[in-house]
């Protein structure tokens, strides 16, 4: 039982933090990058590839370095800390994760190799309008004609969908079950739009669009898809943790430096106590994020699903609390787009959707309370 990074992990964190801070340590730089398509910095994407970050999760055969969830998580955390807009979570963790889990050796070597090299961007398209965090493929249907497959339907929102070179799409199979398909980005009808935190998403329309099945065609991949969604949630929670750490640090700094009524704000006990409560939320969330990340490394599909629910609930609640209090304790300045604090809160609101939202997870957990006597942290 150990909650600390080892030396290699610490070195990786320092390296990623250095790269991320160099690019986005000044919030204005981030602001300019997200102001135009594709909403992130292609050069930074290449630098992340160079550092080996984009291939972290993938096996060496697939062009990666086979790092574990702790390493992937700390990258998410560091990127979250500076609101780095590069689509690591969407492209590497989620879409890349689906390819790694379901693709044939050739598909993995091709797609993941190019992804790790920073040559392409992938996007996962699994949500249709009205969907609420299901991974069952509804909204897009797959049709087969001999060896050829086509997809029809609408996916929206698809994070980074317009920029993606290839889309990894869930779809209902003709004989039941859900499959995974690769669609060329250019083959789909895509409308790019801004998300509230400055990131980009797209509506993706598929209309008998040619598609290539990932792995053996025609198999029901729902369990795989669900697990990769769960892992993505846990890594989204890591990203949120980085954001929340930055929120607490900014708020603390502000209370120490900002003067009103002739004194610094930390003279007002009502404010410092609220900062203390933010810290409590942060630390409790931190513990659950670390735990869930370790469960990814050692748990069964069911363990990972449960960990995703638990971290989803804890971090969604903490994100709401910390995001709102960070704005309130800063006052008006945090309402402006030029200042990082409010945008971080916007990003937390977006990450909640990645996580699945508190009530969704609470409902799932509530269904299980009579299945166990206690919830045990250690197995």
């Amino acid at each position: 039982m150990d909650f600390t990074y080892d030396d290699e992990q610490t070195a990786l964190r320092e390296a990623v933090r250095g790269l991320a801070t160099k690019a986005y340590g000044s919030f204005e730089d981030r602001r300019q990058v997200v102001a135009q398509a594709p909403g992130f910095d292609e050069a930074q994407w290449a630098r992340l590839a160079e550092m080996g970050v984009l291939g972290l999760p993938f096996s060496e055969d697939d062009g990666g370095v086979a790092a574990g969830p702790v390493e992937i998580g700390l990258v998410c955390q560091e990127l979250g800390r500076v609101l780095a807009p590069e689509p690591f979570l969407a492209s590497v963790v989620h879409a890349g994760g689906l390819v790694a889990a379901a693709g044939s050796p050739e598909q993995r070597a091709d797609l993941l190799g190019r992804l790790a090299a920073g040559e392409i961007v992938l996007a996962a398209a699994d949500t249709s309008p009205g969907d609420r965090w299901s991974a069952d493929g509804g909204g897009v249907t797959a049709a087969q004609d001999g060896e050829a497959w086509t997809l029809t339907g609408v996916r929206d929102p698809v994070p980074n969908g317009a920029r993606a070179d290839h889309l990894v799409v869930t779809a209902l199979l003709p004989d039941g079950g859900t499959g995974l398909f690769v669609v060329e980005g250019s083959a789909a009808t895509r409308s790019d739009y801004a998300v509230i935190d400055g990131s980009r998403a797209a509506r993706v329309q598929l209309d008998a669009t040619p598609a290539v099945p990932l792995g053996e065609p025609g198999h029901d991949l729902r369990p795989t898809i669900a697990t990769i969604s769960d892992i993505t949630r846990i890594m989204g929670a890591q990203q949120a943790l980085g954001v929340m750490q930055a929120q607490v640090a900014s708020t603390t700094d502000y209370l120490k430096s900002r003067k009103q009524f002739g004194v610094t704000l930390n003279s007002f006990q009502a404010l410092t106590f609220r900062a203390a409560d933010m810290y409590v939320s942060l630390e409790l969330a931190h513990s659950v994020v670390d735990w869930a990340t370790m469960v990814v490394g050692s748990g069964t599909r069911a363990d990972i699903a449960s960990a995703a629910d638990r971290v989803g609930l804890q971090v969604s609640r903490a994100a709401r609390h910390i995001g709102q209090e960070a704005i309130q304790l800063h006052g008006g300045i945090a309402m402006t787009a030029e200042y990082s604090v409010g945008v971080r809160t916007a990003h937390l609101a977006v990450l909640e959707q990645w996580l699945g939202g508190a009530q969704h997870h609470l409902t799932r957990l509530a269904a299980t309370v009579t299945d166990h006597e206690t919830v045990e942290a250690l197995g």
Binding site: S128, Q260, I327, Q328, M335, A337
Partner: protein, 383 residues
Amino acid sequence: MQLELSAEDAAFREEMRTYFTTEFPQDIRDTVLEGRELSQEQIVRSQQALNAAGLAVPHWPEEWGGRGWTDLQRHLWHEEMQAAGVPTPLAFNASMIGPVIAQFGTEEQKARFLPATANLDIWWSQGFSEPDAGSDLASLRTTAVRDGDDWIVNGQKTWTTLGQFGDWIFTLVRTDPEVKKQAGISMLLIDMTSPGVEVRPIELIDGSHEVNEVWFDDVRVPGDLMVGELNSGWTIAKFLLGNERVGVAPVGATKRALATLKRNAGDLLDDPLTRARVAELENELLALELTALRVVAHSAGGEPHPASSVLKLKGTELQQAVSQLALDLAGPGSLAYGAEDDSEVPGWARRSAPTYLNLRKASIYGGSNEIQRQIIARTILGL
């Protein structure tokens, strides 16, 4: 104690409801009811329609368009307006500078400004807040220095809501730097087309442009545009900010927002946790509305009722809570913030994230909730 409205008040409410729902411009109401943004033209047209009907400035002196209503009647007017999706009259004009000029202005100022203010022929902006002041309004630094009969104004205001539409701005300026900070402040009316006035937009986190910085660089202001006595600005500002007992909490608008959300939610309301959240919010809104009624029923004379702070505090919390429920119900659809209007994601869901973020301001602007708690603790509880 009596729950029913008197026959007179019931008739009054019916009259309001009829006007708002049958005579007032429908396109403006639709815009509000669907949660879209009003254009400048709509805001002006709305207030002019109200003014023509005698409903823009009912609380002003009767000589200047007031109606001599009771506070309860004003409350009913205000709630019916919100329930019908009619924009309330521009606060800067109707609730802020209008009453101030009526109370403190010279006869010349009244004649020059009040009719145009009621009719929104002049769009007023508010120039109180400054970058380093925040809740500590009295630490303002914008200066006005005598030059013959005129004042020369230098400095910067910020958080000037809708300042991009402003014709005139009412400002607090420091006219005596030597005395205790509240004592050296005066109020000046400034024509925003004057040389040296510059309005710079501030983009907010929801992508909106609703507040501005306003810069004053050697702006010359004629002496007859000072309101009230020299160095009496603090008194006037307190009058202006504490003037309001009616409509302090956005009860009607929040009720409407929750009703709309319920309609939009559809099947999502089958979830018992969601239903419980709605029920809890409805109950708290009822408590808030009843408290607002108690305040208007009890208030007497021109003194602000201290429970106004309760209304502001709880009112903004509930307004924010409804926006959070909308965000939660929108789910992944809330990401589609910038999607085109033909998106399959419904408009309410697409607007849920910016609305949630925008309304964080509600507990900051206009006297933060910390200031309200302080007022309650000090003024009401004597702590």
